[in-house]
């Protein structure tokens, strides 16, 4: 069934962006968009009693990048254990097989996101020199509209502009780089810390330790890029992975980073990994959320840890070295010229391991202490804290206190003394709040006006769930999923796999930048300036 018109009859609609909280009414779709009404006789789909939401929007995932591909290659044992035969699509559709594990192959990634009711996804860490690779992977990732965030916080040319006080040129460069990579947002990972790792300084201890030989700090880099993003007018503010990820006591640098950008829009990603008190290991979720709740310009995604296998993939090279040393697991490091780094270590979060249990608890605390679900978004930093396939189990932990409390009893309590979760957090998320943290909220933070809601004119990306007292089961297998008005999941089965749209921007910049930039490329780059920008992308850039 792929008619251009469809009436979903009798569902209960959760559309928080339009203040619709569980209203029973029909939803009308025409030519891929939500419309106010349809003529009598239009095709119908009976969704009586079912829960209807917009398609899910993943604001922070790692699914299509050269780093992901390095991780895939590192994990043959995971792939062997999780074969993914071709889905049984309708006859005219060419289906592809693949393999899963924590970093599934591209086609399988698209199918599995769709099977979960997610229809928009962003890869949150792409080295611009390898952006061409990300777009090729996304071309092979069906079912989801997708975009990439472009790594800039350790970029040599940018660091030079920051050191020279050339903030306008830094802004123009950020705009040029974003457009050249076909990206959607500016990403900062461990500002200055990756350059410190590559240059022998190993890492930066905090926001104000100077980068040796350059006289600049993480604070300078953050301020420059946050301002640049806002001046360029990007729909999503600068997306920040703070310094000292995963380190006890990192709450100080996280709060300092938030304060440094006070009054400016900024998104702090996988906050769980940055909410550790010290000395030793303990939760600092309370002070973090006090700040977040009190500052409407701040948004975050949680980066929940879920027990089980995960693969840590990050541009944050120094943290992966430490993880390799402490875990003894295999380790890949790749220093990426003039731009960033890449580290990969596969790990397992065990409920009987004290630190894993603490990380799990901190993530839940961030969710449960949040006073504004529009700014505290669901993520596992896939596959760093766990696979995106664990979202339904995470939603269950948020919506069902009894399941959460039972789980809490099973985990190692050693480091949980004094944590808010151990002290008892009664809150249970409502379906409306789940709709906010999984679609309406991320779409709004990304500035995607046609995503995350079901108002007239929105893209007809729709997920329909059968009600089930087992919340995890309910969210794990939607009954129907529509992508751009096409029914792709029918009765829980993936039936169609259309190509997704590329979400990218091409911001304007002052071309006075170019002669200097060309000279820099000629001096230090191994890729020609003329070949550097990604060409011939599938979709036009979105208007700014």
């Amino acid at each position: 069934m792929s008619s251009s018109r469809l009436r979903l009859v009798g569902g209960t609609i959760y559309d928080p962006a339009n203040q619709v909280d569980g209203e029973a009414r029909d939803l009308c779709i025409e030519d891929g968009r939500i419309v106010a009404s349809l003529p009598d006789g239009a095709p119908t789909l009976d969704v009586k009693g079912m829960v209807v939401m917009a398609g899910g929007v993943d604001i922070h995932s790692h699914l299509a990048s050269s780093s992901c591909n390095h991780a895939r290659r590192l994990l043959p044992e995971e792939h062997a254990a999780d074969p993914a035969p071709r889905p049984e699509l309708t006859l005219e559709e060419l289906a592809r097989s693949g393999t899963g594990g924590t970093v599934p192959t591209t086609f399988t990634t698209g199918y599995r996101y769709a099977g979960l009711g997610y229809t928009t996804v962003f890869d949150a860490a792409v080295a611009p020199v390898a952006a061409r690779h990300s777009h090729a992977e996304l071309d092979d990732t069906p079912c989801v509209d997708a975009g990439i965030f472009v790594l800039m916080g350790n970029d040599e040319y940018l660091l030079r502009q920051v050191a020279a006080g050339e903030r306008e040129r830094a802004r123009d460069y950020a705009a040029w780089l974003l457009g050249s990579a076909g990206g959607y947002a500016i990403k900062v990972v461990n500002p200055g810390g990756i350059e410190a790792w590559k240059s022998g300084q190993r890492n930066l201890s905090g926001l104000d330790e100077p980068l040796k030989g350059r006289g600049i700090t993480a604070r300078d880099i953050l301020e420059t890029l946050a301002t640049a993003g806002n001046e360029i007018g990007l729909p999503h503010p600068v997306h920040i992975h703070c310094n000292n990820l995963g380190m006890p006591g990192n709450v100080d640098v996280t709060l300092a980073s938030m304060r440094a950008l006070a009054g400016r829009r900024a998104h702090f990603t996988h906050l769980q990994f940055h909410s550790y008190g010290g000395p030793g290991w303990r939760s600092a979720a309370v002070p973090i959320m006090e700040y977040v709740n009190g500052h409407p310009e701040v948004s975050v995604d949680v980066g929940q840890v879920m027990f089980g296998p995960a693969t840590t993939i990050t541009a944050d090279g120094p943290v992966e070295y430490l993880l390799h040393r402490s875990s003894g697991r295999k380790w890949l490091n790749l220093d990426i010229e003039l731009e960033t780094g890449c580290g990969i270590v596969p790990i397992v979060y065990k409920d009987k391991a004290a630190v894993s249990a603490l990380q799990w608890a901190i993530g839940l605390e961030l969710f449960l202490l949040s006073q504004d679900p529009w700014r505290v978004i669901l993520s596992t930093d896939h596959p760093n804290g766990g696979s995106f396939l664990s979202y339904p189990a995470l939603i269950q932990l948020l919506m069902d206190r009894s399941v959460r409390d039972d789980r809490l009893k099973q985990v190692n309590p050693k480091l949980l003394a004094g944590s808010a979760l151990a002290d008892g957090l009664a809150r249970e998320y409502t379906l409306n709040e789940i709709a906010i943290i999984t679609r309406a909220g991320p779409a709004r933070l990304l500035g995607l006006k046609q995503k995350g809601h079901l108002g007239v004119g929105a893209d007809a990306d729709v997920t329909v769930y059968s009600r089930d007292p087992d919340i995890a089961r309910m969210f794990a297998s939607p009954r129907f999923v529509l992508k751009g008005g096409t029914l792709i999941v029918e009765e829980g089965q993936l039936r169609r796999a259309p190509a997704g749209r590329r979400l990218r921007l091409a911001p304007a910049y002052d071309t006075a930048l170019l002669p200097d930039l060309r000279g820099y490329f000629d001096a230090y780059s191994t890729v020609s300036f003329a070949n550097y920008p990604v060409q011939e992308l599938r979709d036009d850039p979105l208007p700014l």
Binding site: S66, C68, N69, H70, R72, R73, L74, L75, P76, H79, A80, P83, A84, P85, R86, L91, L94, R96, S97, G98, T99, G101, P104, T105, T106, F107, V129, A130, R132, H133, A136, E137, D140, E156, W197, K198, S199, G200, Y321, R325, K330, W331, L332, N333, L334, D335, I336, E337, L338, I344, V345, A523, Y524, S525, T526, V527, S528, A530, N531, Q535
Partner: protein, 424 residues
């Protein structure tokens, strides 16, 4: 008035350096000049003339008919097909090739299986510490060339990607770097170098192990020759700001100790305790690295992938020539070119393959169907991967017969239609 046409910023697949700074001059549909020219680049581009035929059992046929026949043969042989990725295909063509392989339950293999597979398997077991070539050029202050002189097989590696240029952190270029050349048996050492160490093949692994021991804080106590060599190298490496070890991941004439890759990876990883270090694994050209990347993102595995059960399985244990000679295949599809010095040339050519690729109609062995296409980066535009997996744009310097990617996409659609008709 000259009829010359200049194409600039051209990417060369003559070796894995994949330099993208070439200027190609085309005159009367022939390439007449390539600059800067290295011997491998010149050989890669040649004069750019390729045939444009489509042959079935030695007779010319229409392309559509050849593709229909081929799709029928592949579907008839479903589960017993071999898709072999040769060289000089764009990544776009490789992607389409895997679509065909997936549909007909083929086994996919490539040049990698009989060349660089050992190092890739080792990296799957241990990980690795590496860098893109620009990083090495911009940071490396101590280089160890381990049993390799790159000048012949990677002619511009020294001048463009490693020791000679000025780097962001190495303002004095070659003068700011210390180069150690290690020869291992008949694997020659780089000339000239700042330090030279000669090892016999027997000493190699012991020396690498002793260097790693020293890096980990356990310097060798004995005063043997191997211990002395290890001590000299370890001291230089640990004194580096950013050490770079370089080895040839492609086979050479000399039989190589299969433990070399593991020992080098382990040493480089260990060096990241006291300092920073990366291992450069030199790879040949023709976009074989792109083939590994595509296989990985579509199947999870970089080579030796078996779709016969309807999903990808990794079969490194029967990769390459050993697998091809197993007589399991009813239909064999060779994509791109297979160099005559390839370890699999004899095995593949005996199977009377269908060939889709540059000069297919001139293959020096019998073919069932042969479809000539353009060469990646000479005629066909698209993408290819450098040895360090940096993707690069391929431009078209002159018109070719037809793009391999287009032919393979058409084959994928035809195969899919046939399979649909069977089910329907």
């Amino acid at each position: 008035m000259s009829s010359d046409r200049r194409v600039e910023h051209v990417t060369c697949l003559g070796c894995g350096c994949t330099c993208d700074d070439l200027t190609v001059v085309v005159s009367n549909d022939r390439i007449t000049e390539v600059t800067p020219a290295c011997p491998l680049g010149k050989a890669w581009f040649g004069d750019g003339r390729v045939p444009g035929q489509v042959m079935s059992d030695g007779k010319p046929v229409a392309l559509d008919l050849a593709i229909e026949r081929l799709a029928e043969a592949l579907v008839a042989a479903r589960g017993r097909c071999l898709v072999y990725l040769g060289t000089d295909l764009t990544t776009e063509a490789q992607r389409a090739a895997l679509s065909v392989a997936d549909l007909v339950g083929a086994t996919v293999d490539s040049e990698t299986s009989d060349t660089a597979a050992n190092g890739l398997i080792t990296a799957q077991r241990r990980g690795r510490a590496a860098a893109t070539l620009g990083e090495v050029r911009n940071r490396g202050d101590v280089f160890v060339f381990w049993g390799v002189d790159p000048r012949e097989s990677y002619p511009r590696f020294l001048s463009r990607y490693s020791v000679e240029p000025v780097g962001t952190q190495v303002p004095d270029g070659r003068h700011g770097r210390h180069v150690i050349a290690v020869s291992v048996g008949a694997d020659a050492a780089l000339e000239p170098a700042d330090s030279r160490i000669e090892l016999t093949a027997d000493q190699e692994i012991a020396v690498l192990t002793l260097i790693r021991a020293a890096v980990l804080g356990n310097p060798a106590g004995a005063k043997t020759k191997t211990a002395q060599a290890a001590g000299i190298i370890a001291e230089k490496l640990m004194g580096a700001r950013y050490a770079v070890l370089v080895h040839d991941a492609e086979p050479t004439v000399e039989a190589r100790n299969p433990l070399r890759a593991e020992a080098l990876i382990a040493l480089t990883q260990a060096l990241n305790g006291p300092t920073r270090a990366s291992l450069v694994s030199l790879r040949a050209g023709g976009n074989r690295v792109g083939g590994e990347a595509v296989l990985t993102w579509q199947t999870g595995y970089p080579f030796a992938v078996d779709f016969t059960l309807g999903y990808p399985r990794y079969r490194p244990e029967r990769r390459g020539r050993a697998g091809i000679e197993s007589d399991r295949y009813q239909a064999v599809l060779l994509l791109g070119s297979l160099p005559e010095n390839s370890p699999t040339f004899a095995a593949v050519s005996r199977l009377r393959p269908t060939v889709i690729g540059p000069r297919a109609s001139q293959a020096p062995f019998p073919t069932s169907i042969a479809i000539d296409t353009g060469v990646a980066g000479i005629h066909d535009r698209g993408t290819a991967y450098r040895m360090d997996e940096i993707p690069l744009a391929l431009r078209s310097c002159l018109a070719g017969p037809r793009a391999a990617a287009d032919v393979l996409q058409q084959l994928s659609r035809a195969t899919h239609r046939l399979l649909q008709a069977r089910v329907g």
